[in-house]
């Protein structure tokens, strides 16, 4: 089981959107590109690439230590096992009130097109369980997305990635 978080190095992003594609495929039933595009309902990507002028960046759930989404969820649909685990969503408990969407500073929670719930990055927990990297990390051609095991997160990682402004994983740095 891999334990860690995905760090984002926006200056390496080409806006190729491979991460969006591989995110959707890895959350589909077939896990294969050409089969998944015909699936009903179609799988959704949970990472989003946005571009402002010449600047682009992929953004997925930061699995914040003090996650505001978790704090405002009225049904405990959003939960985590401990501060080193990802913030996960149980769609059966979710009533789709969208308070988490309002609370998320990153705008990375969206509405599910198939369930009456929201949908967000789960850090590819099923892949982590079998020691595989999250799909977006594996597929990014420029390594704009890196998976850092918990013990290895350093001050430099924080400075170079978006975590700096947000101090999300600050207490894990050495």
């Amino acid at each position: 089981m891999k334990k860690g978080f995905v760090f984002i190095y926006g200056d390496k992003c080409l806006a190729c959107k491979t991460c969006e594609l591989s995110c959707a495929v890895s959350h589909s039933n077939s896990k294969e590109l050409f089969k998944s595009i015909n699936e009903m309902p179609k799988s959704q990507y949970r990472i989003n690439v946005d571009t402002i002028g010449e600047f682009s960046m992929p953004l997925n759930c930061r699995h914040c230590k003090e996650s505001p989404c978790l704090k405002v969820c009225p049904t405990s649909a959003l939960f985590r096992e401990n501060e080193d685990s990802p913030v996960l969503l149980d769609p059966d408990k979710c009533i789709g009130c969208k308070y988490c969407i309002l609370a998320c500073p990153f705008g990375v929670i969206k509405l599910s097109s198939s369930k009456k719930a929201v949908i967000k990055c789960d850090l590819c927990i099923e892949r982590l369980k079998i020691d595989e990297l999250p799909a977006c990390v594996s597929s990014c051609p420029t390594k704009a997305l890196k998976f850092k095991p918990v013990e290895e997160i350093t001050e430099i990682d924080r400075k170079d990635s978006i975590e700096y402004e947000w101090r999300i994983h600050s207490s894990r740095s050495k």
Binding site: D11, C94, I95, G107, I109
Partner: protein, 172 residues
């Protein structure tokens, strides 16, 4: 205007309660403040401004995707027709049993003083049909309440994150 959602920003709310007044007037038979002033006691707003210690917040129906009120209504008087669409109470099927009122996780369903049907924010669907934004949105002086699609709202947030990152890191 369609496919929108009412978002609130607590750091912009002044607790002026303009949204409450605009909401009440928009749902009354007087569409004009001047006439409404004489019947203030009969007006009912469906948005509620709460002044907490360090912030204020307007509270209204969240138009939940899997709304508890829709599920609990014995006569199916409450309906949600589409994703990100409004949850609407059909008054002619409402028997006034208040089951929806006691199941709302946000406490934003109330009782119409006259007809004793249940009432709540309806996303001003009447105004939306005329191309107007919801009354609370157009009345808010600080734009603490906005009518915006979830996609657009998320994009706004993500773009701000990108901007701040690149301002720090500098150009490539």
């Amino acid at each position: 205007m369609s496919g929108g959602y009412i978002v609130v920003e607590v750091n912009k709310c002044l607790a002026c309660k303009t949204c409450e007044i605009e909401c009440a007037i928009a749902h009354s038979e007087f569409k004009d403040k001047k006439d409404a002033v004489f019947k203030l006691h009969s007006l009912q707003h469906r948005v509620f401004v709460e002044k907490m210690k360090e912030f204020s917040i307007p509270l209204q129906c969240r138009h939940c995707e899997d709304a508890p009120c829709v599920k609990i209504c014995p006569t199916k008087a409450i309906e949600k027709r589409e994703i990100e669409g409004p949850v609407v109470i059909n008054e002619s099927l409402c028997i006034g049993c208040k089951r929806c009122l006691l199941i709302c996780p946000f406490g934003v369903i109330s009782i119409n003083h006259q007809s004793r049907a249940s009432i709540k924010c309806d996303l001003c669907i009447g105004r939306l049909k005329e191309g107007l934004s919801p009354a609370c949105v157009s009345g808010c002086p600080t734009k603490a309440i906005k009518y915006i699609s979830i996609d657009e709202y998320n994009k706004l947030k993500r773009r701000r994150v990108i901007k701040e990152y690149y301002e720090r890191v500098g150009k490539k």
